[in-house]
Symmetry: C2
DNA sequence: CGGCATCCTAGTTGATACTG
DNA sequence: CAGTATCAACTAGGATGCCG
């Protein structure tokens, strides 16, 4: 994991600089970026992995911790995250059934960046809000 | 969770650890996170700010650099980014008209995190792809 | 408890045509 | 050149009901 530096044998011109031009369009990199953005950009995924950040959780627990999410969307979100290898789903053979979800190490590396973004959002919200007010006042509603 | 003691006058210490619980739901922080995610999570915004990362660009230039984007969506995306203070729009009084878009410093700080995320996406795509294949094979289509 | 199947709406995007 | 306007298509998401 440790996605610190990329391939040492690459002469440093690679991904990072390319990410925007190359990661832009219909390229492979572009698809990778789009994939991740589609996942964490949707309404609930980030909330789910955020809730799983430290502890593993059961289905209903997650539902309690994420106000407003429907059963359907929680299920769908969990399935996608599981499919992408970001969380694991463990069914315990008990009665009543108990299912636990847990962040994988891959999911753990993702959430670091997601949190950084969230942090940025919180810090810069005042500026964004101000910019909106300014914009709306000059561009008549 | 839900230690909902929200105090408008406590900005800095809190955020990072809270981001997930607190930034989760319908709180102020939650709205900030959602706002940003809605912006960079949409189909084109990240591509646009990525293209503006180094140089300022004209409308048609942007369109050329972002294959597949329609006039309409480019316009809408630019307007939203402008409204949020992430880019500036400069109209030069010439004939034919020339309009240039440029990243603001606020936009510049955002793109750092967005790029980190994009970088993560590129590096971990193989793992995600593998996870999907594994998932799809066990969960019969 | 932890789902899946179905129906349905509201918002987002794309194609197309027209304009200052 | 840099848009705006209109319409059609698609889809994410919510509500509901049933099941192992």
């Amino acid at each position: 994991m440790a996605s610190t530096r990329r391939d040492p044998s690459e002469p440093a011109t690679t991904d990072y600089e390319r990410t925007c031009e190359d990661g832009a369009a219909g390229t492979e990199h572009g698809r990778a970026v789009r994939d991740v953005l589609d996942r964490i950009g949707d309404k609930w995924s980030l909330l789910v992995i955020g809730t799983l950040r430290h502890e593993r959780r059961r289905f209903t627990e997650l539902q309690r911790h994420i106000p407003g999410i429907s059963q359907r969307m929680l299920t769908l979100t969990l399935r996608q995250l599981e499919r992408d290898g970001l969380i694991t789903r463990t069914v315990h053979a008990e009665v009543p059934p108990r299912v636990e979800y847990e962040l994988t190490s891959l999911g753990g590396t993702l959430i670091v960046h997601a949190m950084a973004l969230a942090h940025w959002a919180i810090e810069n919200r005042p500026q964004i809000e101000a910019a909106r007010v300014a914009y709306d006042s000059t561009h008549a509603r």
